[in-house]
């Protein structure tokens, strides 16, 4: 007689349509994505013109040329940075994470109303920040270091963004807790694992920037305090700043680990090692931020060395990812008929924009990862800190791997939101490859110009000096910029086309997995333990840095300044 095994108790989940969205889901995810695209349009389209403006050959040909719309270079640069790096990324990531969590767990968000409160908090924040930026009252770049001070609406807008994301974290974690209660002993799907890791990391990290804004910048912009300490501010900012870049990267990894295998008809090599990678990124993103402060006078060499060691450690999860995703692509290539040992590299689905965008992003990420390792090596950093090299690095990572993967997601998600197929696959492919080529040329040019000593964040078109060794590379960067301009236009045309003009039915379904690999250790999901580890590491790695930066005798002594007036505030 056969023993009857009781089926594991599963709460009846919601079933989501594979080629469309539920109404509430469409509104919530769609609103985040549309706002993300609006922010991106501000950020993206201003980028290439900076490359033109920095190219000596271009300025020789058009000596009177200025940045379009925002003639002030640093205003355009501030908009480019804040819109791309802070607002596009955050809106996209929140929308994407809601989608991933609901679909993977097959249950609704814990509190949809709170999700909307978070959305409007971030949205009003975007409006306030845009007001300050567009009226040239916040041309302080996306790092907004004091003693430079912007209009209060800029800081209030940033606070609203951060507060919104904290509500998102709460919503996702409580949704997960509900799932966990209903599914004891099961492993959470990998995509949700990565999403939780991302929001835990983000929430810990934003505490630093929240303190900086609430206790230094916002009160100063309102005239309540007159002094700050720039070294302390930089310490607080970079406590946040490095987890910020992993906050962009982890959703891209979620796509590579959990969606790319489906999109390439392959399967993930190792789910548990994917979890280890996410966990390591979450933990070791915190004790590495001082590698942005290697040239700072107020941070000791010991702490600079400690953060270098951890930076090398945080490279490991990316190498784990390279192996895991490499194996996914190898299987995909072999299924497509590759025979030779490396033939699978060429036999990929290059005609599918969703796949091509992600693989192109990975190609750029190889350059991005190694360039990062180079300038995170504390002595080499002396040659590279604040040069164009740094710009090359994060255009390989953020503007390479991350944004191409986000575009890949948008190429299947916007059709799901709209309920219509992508407007033009061919335009999408052209967009991906012009982006890849443009970004390679741009990255090479900026990297080489940086080695030649060309500074970043500098309006070279108006500069008192031109570095002859850098001139060639600044010119080639501008050619890269031209490719990227074409690519950006193709992207937005396709997005508008999909939202407004497409009339074909959706073809690509949502690549979502709803189960976790039961062989992965459950301890990986003991979030309380890992949060404790993060906090301990933060204390150990940042406590001494902060204590050293703070002046306990005199307190804050540096008055604030408006960026364009060399007279300390408040004016008499």
């Amino acid at each position: 007689m056969q023993a009857v095994q009781p089926a594991p108790r599963r709460a009846p989940g919601i079933s989501f349509p594979q080629l469309g969205m539920l109404t509430g889901e469409r509104w919530l995810v769609g609103s985040h994505m549309v706002v993300a695209l609006i922010a991106l349009s501000f950020g993206l389209l201003l980028g290439p013109f900076q490359a033109f403006r920095r190219a000596p050959a271009f300025m020789e040909a058009f000596p009177q040329w200025e940045m379009p719309v925002f003639s002030y270079y640093y205003q355009a640069l501030s908009i480019h940075g804040v819109m791309n790096a802070l607002y596009f990324t955050t809106f996209f990531i929140v929308g994407f994470s809601y989608f991933v969590v609901q679909r993977s767990l097959e249950r609704p968000l814990w509190n949809v109303r709170m999700a909307w409160v978070a959305f409007f908090s971030m949205f009003i924040g975007l409006g306030l920040v845009l007001y300050a930026l567009l009226t040239n009252q916040a041309s302080v770049l996306y790092t907004f270091y004091p003693p430079m001070i912007a209009h209060p609406s800029f800081y209030i807008g940033l606070v609203l963004l951060v507060v919104g994301t904290w509500l998102v974290t709460a919503n996702i974690l409580i949704t997960y807790r509900g799932w966990r209660r209903d599914h004891p002993g099961e492993r959470v799907p990998l995509a949700v694992y990565g999403t939780i890791a991302n929001f835990v990391m983000w929430t810990v990290a934003t505490v630093g920037v929240a303190i900086e804004i609430l206790f230094m910048l916002l009160p100063a912009s309102l005239g309540w305090i007159v002094n700050s300490d720039p070294q302390t501010a930089r310490v607080l900012f970079w406590f946040f700043g490095h987890p910020l870049v992993y906050f962009w990267l982890l959703p891209a990894y979620v796509s590579w680990y959990t969606m790319l295998p489906k999109q390439t008809n392959s399967r993930l090599f190792s789910d548990p090692l994917g979890r280890i990678a996410f966990l390591m990124l979450m933990i070791f993103s915190v004790p590495v931020g001082v590698h942005h402060l290697f040239s700072d006078p107020g941070v000791s060499n010991v702490m600079k060395a400690v953060h270098t060691v951890f930076t090398f450690v945080v490279v490991i999860p990316s190498f784990l990812t390279a192996f895991n995703i490499g194996a996914v692509l190898e299987r995909a290539g072999r299924q497509r008929g590759a025979r030779s040992p490396l033939g699978w590299l060429a036999r990929q689905d290059w005609g599918n924009p969703v796949v091509a965008a992600q693989i192109s992003g990975m190609i750029l990420f190889v350059a991005g990862g190694f360039s990062g390792l180079i300038h995170a090596s504390l002595t080499l950093n002396i040659a590279l800190h604040n040069t164009a090299w740094v710009v090359a690095h994060f255009h390989m990572t953020l503007a390479g791997a991350v944004i191409l993967t986000f575009m890949s997601v948008l190429y299947w998600m916007i059709p799901l939101i709209r309920g219509r197929a992508l407007w033009s696959r061919r335009a999408a492919l052209a967009q991906v490859y012009t982006w890849l080529i443009g970004m390679l040329i741009f990255g090479h040019g900026m990297g080489a110009a940086g080695i030649a000593g060309s500074p970043r964040r500098t309006d070279m078109g108006a500069a008192a000096y031109v570095n002859p060794e850098a001139a060639f590379y600044l010119n080639s960067s501008a050619i890269g910029g031209l490719f990227l301009l074409i690519s950006s236009i193709l992207f937005f045309v396709n997005m508008i086309g999909t939202l407004a003009f497409s009339d074909q039915p959706v073809q690509e379904d949502a690549p979502i997995g709803t189960t976790g690999d039961p062989s992965s250790p459950l301890i990986l999901e003991r979030w309380g333990i890992w949060l404790g580890v993060i906090l301990l590491l933060a204390l150990f790695a940042w406590g001494p840095v902060l204590v050293e930066a703070l002046d306990f005798v005199q307190g804050f002594t540096s008055p604030f300044y408006q960026p364009d007036i060399p007279v300390p505030l408040p004016f008499e």
Partner: protein, 167 residues
């Protein structure tokens, strides 16, 4: 937890590579003596004029070594130009009077953040005659791209010969 054999080899290879990078870093610090900026002292920006920085410039310390004091402010360095003999060992001490600036000397591994409240310092040797710019590489407002100073390294033997020829 199962880890595939190939993946184990991969992890070992990665660890070895990272270890080699780390060893190279140690060598750069302890064998090649590359020095990072490290804390020197604090200075209240309001008291710069009551300090040694009231008169910035080059101080000859003898034996072809120099101390160079610079003050950075929106949007200039003081002094705007210094002249050095070939082979000079120079220790720079730099402060900011107002907001954050940068201090980057072309081709000479001097790369400092200048933060109000902190004295930044670095040492380098000028072996090759020529003109080198000090560039502010930290955004400091609309005049940022014009914030440069000059270091002229003179070939002393050549200039002595020229002086002799002139006589």
């Amino acid at each position: 937890m199962h880890i595939d054999e190939l993946e184990r080899y991969w992890l070992i290879a990665v660890s070895v590579a990272l270890g080699a990078f780390g060893a190279a870093l140690l060598a750069s610090v302890f064998i090649f003596r590359v020095q990072l900026p490290s804390p020197v002292a604090r200075i209240d920006p309001a008291e710069i004029n009551e300090s040694a920085f009231a008169e910035p410039g080059l101080k000859d310390m003898g034996d072809n070594t120099y101390a160079a004091l610079f003050v950075a402010q929106m949007w200039a360095f003081t002094p705007g130009e210094i002249r050095l003999p070939k082979g000079a060992d120079v220790t720079f001490f730099v402060v900011s009077r107002d907001i954050s600036h940068g201090f980057f000397i072309e081709q000479h591994n001097v790369n400092l953040m200048l933060l109000p409240g902190q004295i930044a310092s670095a040492t380098t040797r000028f072996n090759r005659p020529g003109t080198y710019r000090i560039i502010c590489h930290e955004f400091c407002g609309p005049g940022h791209q014009n914030m440069v100073a000059t270091i002229i390294v003179e070939d002393t033997e050549q200039s002595t010969a020229e002086e002799a020829a002139a006589e």
